[in-house]
């Protein structure tokens, strides 16, 4: 299993575009991909779930994945989390 923690850099947190990108990145991995924030762990392959953790700027989010291309998926999600993208 791959597990890494990231700090959310986007000023508006994980909203529309970043959330969409996270789901796309999660789908790189064939197996399971999770986001965890404040004890809440959700599947990163669901837009609803990714939105529902309500991650804001400076929050720490732990990404974990298991299965083929787990590492690639985690890194791709990490890149989204660590980017301050304008919406």
């Amino acid at each position: 299993m791959v597990e890494k923690a990231y700090v959310v850099m986007n000023p508006t947190g994980i909203h529309a575009r970043p959330a969409k990108k996270i789901v796309e990145a999660a789908k790189i991995c064939e197996g399971t991909v999770y986001l965890e924030k404040g004890g809440r762990k959700v599947s990163a392959k669901s837009l609803v779930n990714v939105l529902s953790i309500g991650a804001k700027q400076n929050d720490t989010v732990t990404v974990s994945a298991e299965g083929e291309k787990a590492e690639a998926a985690v890194d791709a999600i990490g890149a989204v989390l660590a980017t301050a993208e304008a919406e």
């Binding site: 000023p11 909203h15 575009r17 669901s46 609803v48 529902s52 309500g54 301050a84």
Partner: protein, 584 residues
């Protein structure tokens, strides 16, 4: 007999004349219906093909939106497509069919409602709005299950191409609104909704006149009736008479011509004919205004009058309440848009029950704005902390009103530093580099602008007060109108002096009085080198259009010449004569 009228909330300006088309809500599946044991697989197949059909429909809409260059709306449908693959939504519905033998319609409805109510309960306005998208997607799937295509009434409306249709509905979903074709739908009227509802926002961006919140009356109308939509007044005229029709047809044509002309300046930078760029931003009083200002083409906010958060209530707004309001304003604009937050300007003509201010003989010369704030630092620091916290979400700047002396500025700046320290110790994020500036509205500060310029990050000239203090004329007194004019050379000289002083220290200068959006003043201010013009939102596009015709280099001498004229009348006549671009 006069036409029957329906009143609602003016959601999108403009006039439309056409035949009423009623968009009837399909009834949501009532209660839960079950399938027989053994039918699960067949029902799942039926469900999956409905999802596939819905996907095809969404992909087609998405492609059409992109083709039309409507990227904002296209993004809504990208999200819808993603929801259509979501395990929490579609997966949950499949699970209800497989595990609990729900009928497909009931399963989709229940799964959609579960997710929508979860999102609606979250403490985030953006996510709450997404609940509408989830419901929209589930409805589309349910519609596919019954074999229907996109709303029949929309099709019917599109069918009659002779005259435009006016759509009447209880409410419009985001996909209904985004699909409105302005060449077929002249306008719409909904029973529910408010000015910031999704449908109202899209109506304004597409440019369809719209009235929302019209209540039951909007649904009582008969199909095919001739109606007029007055989007400016929030009024529907049913069965209008000939003279009303003629009047509105003239208004409609006039508005259309003007609009087409201004439309080309939306989303464009504010640049003069010779390539000098300035900022055109808006004066606002609430987060709602910010949404409207962004739609009107403003690049940001030059003045957020925060006192409106304090007014009309018995208690003071909390830090959290203020934080939310400032953050919402920042979010209404894109990332990096400048948002100038003016700390509260209570007193003068604005009273506040919760502060129990004493009545004064000369309130405009009295205990007001920064004078109250410095006297009551706890009240002030609550606001400063809220502004700082919101600065983590956008390009916020803080501005102090009614500064007369360097001492006042330093004291205010000191309290800002204290507020920063408090947040630091509490580990709360904010922008350490937040700009702090002052309003120049007291002649004393204008005279000392060179000294202030060394310490502040920016100036914003508040002309309404600067004029009344310079001319010693109460701006509320109609008899003194001839004095209350920012074009008087003594006022222009102060403005010129302030701009020069700031630029000498490489600081920027804005203006947030009415003058900044007044066409006759814009050539003078551009010539003087003003960097930021803040005005009411509706003045932004006309100002940008005017700016594009002006040559800044040529106006420098005009800006100097007006300083030597006798009075406002002479300035007005001179500018009108020298600047033919004012009346193209």
């Amino acid at each position: 007999m006069m036409a029957t009228e329906i009143k609602g909330i003016a959601a999108s300006e403009g006039y439309a004349i056409g035949r009423a088309v009623i968009l009837r809500e399909e009834a949501a599946p009532q209660g839960i219906t079950y399938i027989d044991a053994g039918q699960e697989e067949a029902e799942l197949t039926r469900f999956d093909s409905a999802v596939t059909a819905a996907r095809g429909e969404l992909e087609a809409i998405h492609a059409r939106m992109l083709e039309d260059g409507r990227e904002k709306e296209a993004e809504i449908f990208e999200a819808h497509l993603m929801l259509l693959e979501d395990e929490e939504l579609i997966g949950a519905a499949q699970e209800k069919i497989r595990g609990q033998r729900y009928k497909a319609e009931a399963a989709m409805n229940k799964a959609g409602e579960d997710v929508a109510s979860m999102l609606a309960a979250l403490d985030d306005e953006y996510l709450r709005e997404r609940a509408a998208d989830v419901r929209d997607v589930s409805k589309r799937v349910i519609r596919k299950l019954s074999g229907a295509s996109d709303s029949d009434a929309m099709q019917a409306a599109a069918g009659d191409s002779k005259s435009k249709s006016i759509l009447f509905a209880f409410d419009l979903t985001p996909s209904d609104t985004a699909q409105l074709d302005p060449s077929v739908i002249g306008g719409f009227v909904t029973a529910a909704g408010g000015r910031t509802s999704h449908s109202a926002i899209i109506a304004r961006s597409v440019g369809i006149p719209a009235i929302v919140g019209a209540g039951e009356a909007a649904l009582q109308i008969e199909d095919g009736k001739l109606v007029i939509v007055d989007g400016a007044a929030g009024l529907v005229l049913v069965d209008p008479k000939d003279d009303e029709l003629a009047r509105y047809e003239a208004l409609r044509q006039q508005a259309e011509g003007k609009r087409a002309l201004l439309e080309q300046f939306r989303g464009k930078p504010s640049v003069s004919a010779d390539g000098h760029q300035v900022e055109l931003v808006a004066n606002i009083g609430s987060a709602q205004d910010a949404v409207a200002a962004s739609e009107h083409g403003a690049e940001g906010v030059g003045l957020f009058r925060t006192e409106f958060l304090y007014m009309g209530r018995p208690d003071l707004p909390t830090e959290d309440e203020q934080f939310t309001a400032y953050k919402e304003v920042a979010e209404a604009f894109g990332h990096g848009a400048p948002i100038v937050i003016r700390t509260m300007d209570i007193g003068g003509d604005k009273e506040l029950p919760s502060l129990q201010l004493e009545k004064e003989d000369n309130p405009f010369l009295g205990y007001r704005a920064i004078r109250i704030c410095l006297d009551r630092p706890e009240l002030f620091k609550t606001q400063l902390r809220a502004v700082l916290r919101a600065s983590a979400f956008g390009e916020l700047k803080v501005m102090f009103p009614m500064i007369a002396t360097l001492g006042e500025w330093r004291q205010a700046k000191g309290l800002l530093e204290q507020a920063k320290q408090e947040l630091r110790s509490a580990n709360i994020a904010f922008n350490e580099q937040i700009e702090a500036g002052i309003m120049i509205e007291i002649p004393a500060a204008a005279q000392m602008a060179d000294r202030f310029a060394r310490e502040v990050d920016f100036f914003s000239i508040g002309t309404n007060d600067l004029v009344q203090y310079t001319m010693a004329a109460d701006r509320m007194n109609p008899k003194l109108g001839y004095l209350s004019d920012p074009l008087h050379p003594p006022v222009l000289r102060l403005i010129d002096q302030v701009i020069r002083a700031a630029h000498k220290e490489n600081k920027w200068v804005g203006m947030c009085g009415e003058m900044a959006g007044t066409p006759i003043a814009i050539p003078i201010l551009l010539g003087m080198g003003l960097d930021e013009f803040s005005m009411s939102a509706s003045a932004v596009l006309p100002a940008r259009a005017l700016l594009s015709r002006l040559d800044r280099a040529k106006l420098a001498s005009l800006a100097e010449a007006v300083l030597d004229l006798d009075d406002a009348e002479a300035v007005r006549a001179y500018v009108e004569q020298q600047v033919p671009e004012l009346n193209p």
